[in-house]
Amino acid sequence: MIKQYKYTIDVAKILAPIVGSRDLMPVLAEAVNKSDTKAVDLDFAKVEFVSRSAAHALLLMKEDLQRRWLNKKFIAFVNASENVQEMFRVVAANRALPKTNELQVKIEKTDINSLAKCSC
């Protein structure tokens, strides 16, 4: 029987005070899956910074765990600092309204020997 109370995971303890790596999200997902509750709080109180890539992976993980058929988990991000919240907002906004225009990159080309002559 699923218990109804919330389970809380200290993100800094499971990962680190700076959460940067996308490839480590399975470590966090495993901790979430071990909980015997449907509702899981990811506690960011001791997290100083979340990278853009990690924020994106965290949002995907949240959606995936909630969407699946079995062992659904409802994740809440709690106690996030202002800058961590801001990163989630940037990524979530981009997820909602991704930029679709092709970015034009105008770039001069040269070679190392000519550049070295000018600068060294």
């Binding site: 940067g20 790596s21 853009r52």
Partner: protein, 284 residues
């Protein structure tokens, strides 16, 4: 084993360090073990030495230094050439050498321990730089984005990171290196697109991820924007036979003829921030 004499850079600019590295590796097959002779060099910036560290660790290369040159004791202080790969050793080194940040070797197999080592590294960089509002985000953003790329794309199990703040020059240098498959091969293997090294750098700048999601591909471009446009710094990235050299005034793709770096090297220099910083507008 062939000995490569590393020439002393003409000056302290990132470009001059790149030129010295170019001369060292030019005309040589990348994956052969070498004996790097650094005796002529008396100022070791992260961009100059971290690629050597990576080569020594990945290809069992060796090095020669000048034991009588007082500047070369710096190499011992920063754990050249093998670096540190654990939190406990990093902490011991910081206790012994205070303001010197050890070369860090990030190993995929170490999982969350690797993340904690990267965190310690980044926090120490931030502490040496001093704090103005927003500086923390500005320091952490490019480091985290560029390091996560190693483990997302390079298909290598280790990455190398090193930084040094120069209080008299008032700037911070960071370098991040891998000896993985490199940008062009990543596009080829992940998306089936054949590109030259220059073209693959341009794809990166356009934000075209090698992953299928259009929500990805921001890491390098936005990191460059934070470094150059937000902080007024300089940014260099090279992979294969091409480099990107950028600052707040613009960017150039630079051909590196007869040279090949197997993997990706990113280095940047940021002046010490003196007023509050907001990176948000540069994240897109």
């Amino acid at each position: 084993m062939e000995t490569i004499i590393l020439s002393k850079p003409q000056n302290n600019t990132l470009l001059a360090q790149l030129v010295s590295l170019y001369q060292a590796f030019k005309g040589r097959e990348f994956s052969q073990p070498r004996n790097f002779d650094v005796s002529n060099v008396d100022w070791f910036s992260p961009l100059l030495i971290l690629p050597l560290v990576a080569h020594i660790n990945c290809y069992n290369s060796k090095f020669i230094k000048d034991e009588n040159n007082i500047n070369h004791s710096y190499l011992d202080t920063i754990n050249f050439p093998y670096g540190v790969d654990s939190v406990s050793i990093f902490e011991q080194q910081v206790q012994s050498h205070k303001s010197y940040i050890p070369i860090s070797v990030l190993k995929k197999e170490k999982g969350a321990e690797r993340e904690r080592l990267e965190s310690l590294f980044s926090m120490m960089v931030y502490n040496t730089l001093g704090s103005v509002p927003g500086a923390q985000n500005a320091v952490y953003y490019p480091i985290t984005e560029l390091v996560t790329n190693i483990f997302d794309h390079s298909q290598q199990d280790s990455g190398f990171i090193f930084g040094q703040f120069y209080p008299k020059k008032n700037y911070l240098d960071i370098c991040i290196v891998d000896c993985g498959r490199g940008l062009a091969k990543t596009y080829e293997e992940a998306k089936g697109i054949k590109l030259t090294d220059s073209e693959s750098i341009i794809e990166v700048l356009k934000g075209h991820s090698t992953k299928p999601s259009i929500e990805r591909g921001y890491g390098v471009r936005t990191s460059k924007q934070v470094v150059c446009d937000c902080l007024g710094g300089e940014f260099i990235l090279f992979s294969g036979s091409a480099a990107l050299v950028a600052d707040k005034n613009g960017k150039k793709i630079v051909d590196l003829p007869d040279f090949y770096w197997q993997g990706v090297v990113t280095a940047y220099r940021i002046p010490k921030p003196t007023s509050s910083i907001d990176i948000t507008p540069y994240l897109e």
